[in-house]
């Protein structure tokens, strides 16, 4: 990696305008245990930011925390601004009224997210009746138009269908239609393609890419699949045990992963594709840690091939690639500040 992160290539949408999403020092705790630990990130309008992580890395808690959709039992601190508006500072009623216009949310399990006893057309139409004050007939027509927008054939017929009558890919299209219906400045996609076939996933990725180009919505795409990152993301943040351990432009992270965990994820994928049939697969030892309080040292250390004594003692801070250890970053990371890593032994530039 060239040790000159300051000479960043410009990222579309970056600049002085209001970010689609700005997260500063977000912490989400369940029963005192941090699931998301001081995460800061910034998504500009028109950008696709991917958040990659495994079970209990905190990626879904982050997504729900951003949309203020977590239950009251979760303690959320930090600042979240969507297109400049902080839902956390508003009364709950006001936040609920504004949320649908600010942030679209695509859940992993569309079957669970959709209402099973209402036709999907009515569910989309409801958004327009509640938030746009349309009449029943207008809203229902608008609902059909939204289904057509996500390239569903014969949308009038699909609008009358119940979720269980649709295939997995079709249900996910309906979710996307709902999420994008009010043209929100931010779209959060929480592993929407994980349960789908590879071909349906390709459909959905193509569709979202196309809609995003049309609307300029900022997207926070949560996934555990580096392939999805490669297809869609402008930049990527890698989460592990509640913290961002690496962040950078997608191409840079693929070419020069700094953190051993990122490197392992990429190598796992590469080996799957190019390895000899029947030969053992490259594997990262161990499994992701659960929630724990007061962890000393680096959370990845027990699985890390580069582990040394310092890793067990001191938690590495997120710093610019090439900066000396201990350099503190400003709270919110703009995407131009690329190449961030939290590791005592990052990959040395070659």
């Amino acid at each position: 990696m060239s040790a000159a992160p300051a000479a960043a290539t410009s990222v579309p949408g970056a600049g002085g305008k209001t970010a689609a999403l700005e997260v500063e020092n977000l912490r989400v705790c369940y029963a005192g245990l941090p699931a998301v630990d001081e995460v800061s990130l910034r998504v500009e309008p028109g950008q696709v930011a991917a958040l990659i992580g495994e079970t209990s890395s905190g990626k879904s808690s982050l997504a729900l925390g951003v949309a203020r959709l977590l239950p009251a039992s979760a303690a959320v601190t930090g600042r979240v601004a969507i297109a400049g508006a902080d839902l956390g500072e508003m009364p709950a009623r006001e936040a609920r009224r504004l949320r649908a216009g600010l942030v679209g949310y695509i859940a992993q399990d569309a079957m669970a997210a959709l209402n099973p006893v209402l036709p999907v057309g009515s569910q989309i139409a409801e958004l327009f009746r509640v938030h746009r004050g349309m009449s029943r007939a207008e809203a229902s027509e608008q609902g059909v138009r939204e289904l057509a927008r996500v390239r569903i054939n014969r949308p009038e017929r699909v609008a009358r269908a119940y979720p269980h009558q649709l295939s997995g890919g079709m249900r996910q299209r309906v979710m996307i239609a709902m999420a994008m219906a009010l043209s929100p400045p931010l779209l959060i996609a929480d592993e929407p393609t994980t349960a789908l076939d590879v071909s349906t996933q390709a459909e959905i990725l193509g569709l979202v890419g196309e809609l995003q180009t049309q609307t300029g919505t900022g997207i926070l795409w949560i996934t555990h699949d580096m392939g999805v990152v490669a297809e869609l993301a402008d930049w990527v943040a890698v989460m592990y045990a509640g913290r961002i351990v690496e962040q950078g432009l997608a191409g840079d992270v693929f070419d020069h992963p700094q953190h051993p965990y990122t490197e392992g994820l990429l190598r796992t994928r590469r080996d799957l594709r190019t390895g000899r049939p029947g030969a053992p697969l490259y594997q990262i030892e161990g499994s992701p840690p659960g929630l724990s309080a007061g962890r000393r040292g680096c959370a990845f250390a027990p699985r890390c091939p580069r582990r040394s004594a310092v890793c067990d003692e001191h938690r590495p801070e997120l710093i610019s690639v090439g900066e000396p250890a201990g350099t503190k970053l400003p709270a919110a990371q703009s995407p131009e500040t690329r190449g961030l890593v939290a590791c005592h032994h990052p990959e040395v530039a070659s």
Binding site: R157, L205, G206, G227, A230, E231, P277
Partner: protein, 357 residues
């Protein structure tokens, strides 16, 4: 190249040498097996063979019939026509006579959160097949069983697990290891793996696959490995069978099918795999699979029918099942069922206009 009449399908066999000699019967065989649910074909004249000690991969989308194959191989259901064989002998029809055969067939399912009883201790979960198959003496179940269970847990990398612990203590990968220990304790000849890693973390997936490959090697185990992930299955299987709407549309040695597909469906499946680098994005490219399905169809809600059928199955057998999504489809493809063509390199495909490969 020889063409065969439709319906008379060559056997899909592994290219790896069969330890039982060239004439030895495959350990598991499907002979022109069809399975209908409410008149719709979930499997349509499927012929497969799994020689001992090899891995056969079934790949395809939801609704292609992969899991139906697994249910039939487990003896949970019977084929509507055709027959299944185990070591050359047809599956018995009676449940009682099926029992000794089932002991020879282990299984690992997709979701380790669903497939382990949360109220059972590890000791009872792993030893359950022994009890079911009455492999324990009347007074056994004590120290000998514990020893056997410990051996199995050791073999799957859970040597330090407590026998009185419950599944809730284990992560997804840990639970899948428990499921593998349970599957292997009766020392089966065949292990059916139905998407065994698709609900696991990426970093844990390789560990589980390596465990299965090691079991295959050290126990002379034959694997029927079902997945929709072409990359993964290409690494695990010796032979691949690509399924679409209940038919095997292409089969042969894994590296050939994966690297140089002949059938347009296999190629489309290949093209739908996300890029390996942001500089090589592919999904903007038009692939027949990325076009929307023609219509919403109510899925057959019958017992055993997949709840989510990506492809509504047609009852018609007189056409190529992929014709309506195929970029190279000609009128003939809509009017005739393509015969299975076997090539000298061991590959077979059912396509009138195959790719150069």
């Amino acid at each position: 190249m020889k063409a065969q009449a439709p319906g008379i399908e060559p056997t899909v066999t592994s290219s790896a040498p069969d330890t039982g000699g060239p004439d030895a019967a495959p350990v598991l065989g499907f002979e022109s097996v069809s399975k209908y649910y409410r008149g719709l074909a979930a499997l349509d004249q499927v012929t497969l063979a799994l020689p001992r000690g090899t891995a056969l991969g079934l790949v395809g989308e939801s609704g292609s019939g992969k899991s139906t194959c697994v249910r039939l191989a487990l003896g949970l259901e019977r084929p509507s026509s055709g027959r299944l064989t185990f070591a050359g002998t047809a599956y018995p029809r009676s449940r009682r006579r099926l029992r000794p055969l089932r002991r020879q067939v282990g299984f690992v399912l997709q979701d380790p959160y669903d497939s382990l009883d949360p109220r059972m201790q590890l000791r009872d979960i792993v030893s359950e097949p022994l009890r079911v198959h009455r492999r324990l003496g009347r007074d056994a179940g004590g120290r000998d069983t514990d020893r056997l269970v410990m051996e199995m847990l050791q073999a799957v990398g859970l040597g330090d697990a407590a026998l009185d612990s419950y599944p809730a203590r284990y992560s997804g990968g840990g639970r899948q290891r428990i499921a593998i220990a349970r599957a292997l304790i009766t020392d089966p000849a065949v292990l059916l793996c139905d998407e065994p890693t698709s609900s696991l973390d990426v970093s844990v997936q390789a560990q589980i696959v390596n465990l299965l490959l090691e079991a295959k090697r050290s126990r002379d185990l034959s694997l029927l490995f079902v997945s929709h992930d072409l990359d993964l299955i290409g690494r695990v299987a010796d032979t691949l069978a690509v399924m679409y709407r209940g038919r095997v549309v292409e089969s042969g040695p894994a590296d050939l099918v994966r690297g140089r597909p002949r059938h347009h469906y296999t190629k489309s499946l290949h093209d739908a795999v996300p890029a390996d680098h942001p500089a090589r994005r592919t999904l903007a490219r038009t692939s027949p699979l990325t076009q929307a399905h023609p219509a919403v169809e109510a899925t057959p809600a019958g017992a055993g029918a997949p709840a989510v059928a990506a492809s509504p199955r047609s009852a018609s057998t007189s056409c190529c099942v992929f014709a309506d999504r195929c970029p190279a489809a000609e009128p003939r493809c809509h009017a005739e069922r393509p015969p299975i063509v076997t090539e000298p390199d061991g590959r077979s495909h059912a396509c009138f206009f195959p790719l150069a490969g």
